[in-house]
């Protein structure tokens, strides 16, 4: 016990005396590890923004975000590191991959991944990087982070500060997450009736058969006209109530067309 106290005292003494030999040319082990993981992270980020294969970009983003989680661990912010792994690597990247699949991203190389202004973008990014790095290095040249002692970002410390000092923003953030959830659902559902013209576009020849079939009954002009005017509304209504399309094929063309238009107007008012 006393030995441990003595060792701890000695360690405390050495840690208080430690800031003297700081320097760029004598990096500690933590600094070397940070530098190596930082190089991997930065390289993965560069590949993410330059590769022409979209799915590979998402997978390299996983490497960059995981490297950042390791950097948080090296900075003794453990809770942030695991939250980073859970939310970014676990949720955000999966969401991005789903988005890539749902927008039918090409699997191989896509030649138009970069726009024409990539050289201007490169110039802007290089200028911003040069100025930022210069300012940051010049400002914090003589500043060291003391990583010894208890962790600055353990779950204990983070939870205590979060629920003592930051309770109100925390709860407001939960409301924001709920609003984002509802907003994402509403955006996805609003696109549903608008997606039916694109989805039912291959059925357009079937709909074009309808005025032809009615042409056998004799009223060429009117039936063709009502068929033409009622066609988009049929496409629109095909998602909601499919009964109108079948009803039209029974022959009461004009009335069903009017009913469709009434339904369309009602739907327009509904929006």
């Amino acid at each position: 016990m006393t030995l441990a106290a003595a060792v701890g005292h000695l360690a405390a003494d050495s840690s208080t005396a430690a800031p003297a030999p700081h320097g760029f040319l004598s990096p500690t082990g933590v600094e070397i590890a940070f530098l190596l993981v930082g190089l991997v992270t930065f390289g993965a980020a560069v590949v993410t923004v330059t590769t022409r294969q979209l799915v590979h970009a998402a997978l390299w983003l996983v490497v960059a975000l995981g490297g950042l989680a390791v950097e948080y661990l090296l900075l003794t912010a453990e809770f942030i590191a695991w939250v980073q792994v859970l939310i970014y690597v676990g949720a955000v990247v999966v969401l991005i991959l789903f988005g890539l699949m749902l927008t039918r991203a090409p699997i191989g190389r896509s030649p138009d991944a970069d726009s024409g202004n990539r050289w201007a973008a490169l110039a802007v990014a290089a200028a911003a990087a040069a100025s930022l790095v210069w300012v940051v290095v010049d400002a914090f040249r003589t500043t060291w982070i003391d990583l010894d002692g208890p962790a600055a970002g353990s779950t204990d410390v983070t939870g205590a500060s979060l629920f003592q000092n930051w309770v109100l923003p925390f709860e407001a953030l939960s409301v924001l997450l709920l609003a984002a959830l509802v907003g994402a659902i509403v955006l996805s559902r609003k696109a549903q009736p608008a997606a039916t013209p694109a989805g039912s576009a291959p059925t357009r020849p079937d709909a074009a058969n309808v005025p032809g079939g009615n042409g056998e009954t004799g009223e060429h002009g009117r039936n063709g006209k009502t068929g033409e005017s009622g066609k988009p509304s049929e496409h629109r209504e095909s998602g909601g109530n499919g009964g109108n399309g079948e009803h039209r094929k029974t022959g009461e063309n004009r009335e069903s067309g009017k009913a469709d238009e009434a339904g369309k107007a009602g739907k327009g008012d509904d929006r």
């Binding site: 970009a57 942030i80 970014y88 988005g99 940051v136 600055a152 970002g153 983070t158 996805s188 988009p232």
Partner: protein, 148 residues
Amino acid sequence: MHLAYPAVLSALLFCTGVYGVLARRNAILVLMSVELMLNAVNLNLVAFDVWLSRAAEETLHSGQALTLFTIAIAAAEIGIGLAIVLAVHRNRGTSDIDKLRDTAEGHGPDGPADPDDPDDPGDPAVPGGPDTDTPATGTAAEKAEATA
């Protein structure tokens, strides 16, 4: 640890994200670059919080709390952003942000008179044929959706 290491890494990651936002055409790649920029800011927040918690005896841990809030807001942002990108993809058939020029100056109002516009609703408008009804309802649906 020298504070310059995380600060420089954060600056480099942020500028990488800036390059990605400016140079990419696919909307999802732009969102990924935005995620990189947010992560650079998070690294800065964590590094300065760890520094100040020792150097200035700061017990509020504002940097880590703000990092958690930023992560949650980034999750909400990517959800909403991907929902918007999917809605645009359903309406226009593309997620290429260079082709979404309805609000650009010098292209006229978005409508069938616009030379760019037949490309915009995507492939289903091409066999539309005789009536100009389909693009009109398409743009009407988009407007209704935009105002809703």
